[in-house]
């Protein structure tokens, strides 16, 4: 049946799988951005650099300290998150009373610093990271490499775990309350500044986690975050940052749209997400899951 439209099933499902992988990264990254934006009102431009840092920390842990992938999967996000906490405590904190644009400019500067330092040390060519889960399964209609299956599963678990914590636990309810009225929440005796610091650390750790996941698939390179973050921004504009679930769903959906575009019109695969963004801006300016404010 698929032959009728001139596409082999292997190619279609193969690209769908790639799209799902990209979608997994979009989802985890835009989730981190949404969590940070919700509480801090800062668009974290450093997110791409922190994703790249996650991959590099995993690489350094492996090459220098001999820590295998599974150890890095836990350690790297913690390390990247800790760096994020230092950034929040020493710099971002001083900007909360100002216009939000200053947060954007500061994190943009930090992204340049981090990217520049890694480029100065490692150059722009990628470093290979060994695949911890070689092999795969033949599903009949397509071949599924085990590691790619793991990436999709791991990202789904992390995304929905985060969603559960924010929407269904007491801690999450504090967080949502502080998003609405930080002053009132503080008046009830909850340490909001600490909560802000930890939230930033967590959002950044999510980026680091995505970086470790990406290391065996893509080469570990200082450039890996910069272009990705712009696509993630477009994802965030499409989804609107008001909803955690919206950020996750939009991320996966756009990854799949991108994969399908690679099958049917490869020239546009780089730009399709931006085109979708333009269309959404025309039809529903607040974003698919956003509320007009």
């Amino acid at each position: 049946m698929l032959e009728l439209i001139g596409v082999s099933p292997q190619m279609l499902f193969g690209q769908l799988m790639l799209g799902l992988i990209n979608g997994a990264f979009y989802a985890v990254l835009s989730l981190g951005l949404a969590v940070i934006f919700g509480l801090l009102n800062v668009i974290n431009f450093t997110h791409g650099a922190q994703y790249m840092m996650g991959a590099f920390v995993a690489y350094i842990l492996l090459v220098v300290f001999g820590v295998p992938y599974w150890g890095a999967l836990v350690l790297a996000p913690v390390i990247v998150g800790a760096v994020g906490i230092v950034i929040e405590r020493t710099m971002l904190r001083r900007l909360y009373h100002l216009d939000h644009l200053y947060g954007l400019l500061l994190t943009f500067g930090l992204a340049l610093i981090i990217e520049g330092l890694f480029r100065a040390r490692y150059g722009v060519s990628g470093q290979p990271y060994p695949n911890p889960l070689p092999g795969g399964t033949n599903l009949g209609f397509m071949f599924l490499p085990t590691y790619r299956g793991w990436v999709v599963v791991a990202s789904l678990v992390v995304c929905f775990g985060t969603w559960l914590v924010i929407e269904r636990t007491k801690l999450g309810s504090y967080l949502r309350a502080a998003t609405e009225r930080p002053d009132l929440v503080q008046a009830f005796g909850i340490n909001v500044p600490l909560m802000i610091t930890l939230t930033y650390g967590f959002g950044v750790a999510l980026a680091g986690f995505a970086g470790v996941l990406a290391a065996p698939i893509y080469q570990v390179s200082p450039l890996m975050g910069a272009n990705l973050i712009i696509v993630v921004f477009a994802v965030v504009v499409i989804g609107g940052m008001g909803s955690i679930l919206g950020a996750i769903v939009t991320g996966y959906a756009l990854g799949i749209v991108e994969g399908l575009t690679k099958v049917f019109y490869p020239e546009a695969s780089n730009t399709v997400i931006f085109v979708v963004m333009a269309i959404v801006l025309l039809l529903k300016p607040a974003g698919l899951f956003g509320t007009a404010k």
């Binding site: 001083r94 100002l98 200053y102 400019l105 500061l106 930090l110 340049l112 610093i113 520049g116 480029r119």
Partner: protein, 363 residues
């Protein structure tokens, strides 16, 4: 989840006045002070022009041309961020886009520069009209993200479109004479041509800022809901300002294509959008001369650090962080605040010396 409507300069402006207002001063006083300040601006501009006219005697003209191109680019960007409060993170698409258009017109179509440069600027303006119409549908941080994403889209277009030359760009763009007589092939002559273009663009921006139209833009920056409630079609003003800013950024990019005989992907990449933000921030957002000073500082820095590769990036990042944390008003903004503080202190001292019966007791 609210989108911000206040502008960065509004935020700094309020801190500026609160810190400078140590003694009580009526609004009538500050209004009276704005008249001589205006002439101070004019004197500064004439001094700048005089300096610019003799500058090629002391400095390498090609370097000066580069400064002027980026200064015009930054001024065009500042019109938007400093006076409407819209932070565009995608201005490279107009700058780089116009430099592609101009390069193509000069090299492939064989148009003379006096036709190619304005045509390329207008083409960038048309792009600005489309992009602006989309982007102004969101405010604050989202506006920055939308412009960034659309610029990235244009980057991929430039990478793939046949006329841009992909990774190579358009090289060896001819420096043909203007009106058949002004030889742009000569570096010094070229410098004066670029200076004329810059001056025209700068004066247009100056005129715009100080026109009733510019007053409405500032009103939108300070309080958009109020401007709407006063009956202004805010979106139309924003769109017009965006288009004008894109056209002038295009004028800068087209001039750069002629001067450096090259249009490349560097000019449309997001790093370029970041650079123009940096120049404006360093010089002072929302000040008339800030972007010029900022462009001079950053271009000079890039020239000196050119041999250090990646450290240019790190240095730019550090400057971003330091300026955002410590000098949000930028060089010109801080200088103006300093002059204002001194003037106020002198006035206070004069008043104390003239009319106070019991001296030195109050202050």
């Amino acid at each position: 989840m609210t989108e911000s409507t206040a502008s960065p300069s509004a935020a700094t402006g309020s801190t500026a006045t609160s810190s400078a207002n140590s003694s009580a001063s009526s609004s009538a006083e500050s209004r009276a002070a704005s008249a001589p300040l205006l002439t101070a601006g004019r004197i500064a501009f004439l001094a700048f022009l005089a300096l610019a006219l003799v500058a090629p005697l002391f400095l390498y003209p090609v370097f000066l041309v580069k400064v002027l191109c980026f200064a015009l680019f930054a001024c065009a960007f500042n019109l938007l961020v400093g006076y409407v409060g819209l932070l565009s993170f995608g201005h490279a698409m107009f700058f780089g886009g116009a430099s592609y258009f101009c390069g193509h017109m000069l090299k492939v179509w064989g148009w003379p520069p006096e036709l190619a440069i304005p045509a390329a600027a207008l083409a960038a303006g048309a792009m600005g009209l489309v992009v602006g119409a989309l982007a102004i549908r969101r405010q604050g941080i989202y506006f920055a993200m939308v412009t960034l994403a659309l610029a990235q889209m244009f980057y991929f277009f430039a990478l793939q479109a046949p006329f841009t030359g992909g990774e190579d760009g358009i090289q060896a763009i001819p420096r043909t004479p203007i009106l058949g007589v002004i030889e742009t092939a000569n570096d010094t002559t070229l410098y004066y041509v670029v200076l004329a273009i810059f001056t025209a663009g700068f004066l247009l921006i100056y005129r715009t800022i100080h026109s009733p139209f510019g007053q409405v833009l500032k009103a939108i920056r300070e309080n958009e809901p109020r401007a709407i409630s006063l009956g202004y079609a805010v979106d139309r003003y924003k769109l017009l300002a965006f288009t004008l800013s894109a056209t002038l950024a295009g004028l800068a990019g087209a001039t750069k294509a002629l001067a450096f005989q090259l249009a490349s992907l560097t000019d449309v990449a997001w790093q370029m959008s970041g650079e123009v933000v940096l120049m404006t921030l360093v010089g002072g957002m929302g000040t008339v001369f800030g972007p010029v000073v900022g462009a001079a500082v950053i271009v000079t820095m890039q020239n000196y650090l050119a041999g250090f590769g990646e450290w240019v990036l790190v240095t730019q990042g550090v400057i971003f962080v330091v300026v955002v944390l410590l000098f949000r008003r930028g060089i010109v903004g801080e200088a103006m605040a300093f002059a204002e503080r001194r003037r106020r202190r002198r006035e206070d001292a004069d008043a104390a010396a003239a009319g106070e019966p019991e001296p030195a007791a109050t202050h």
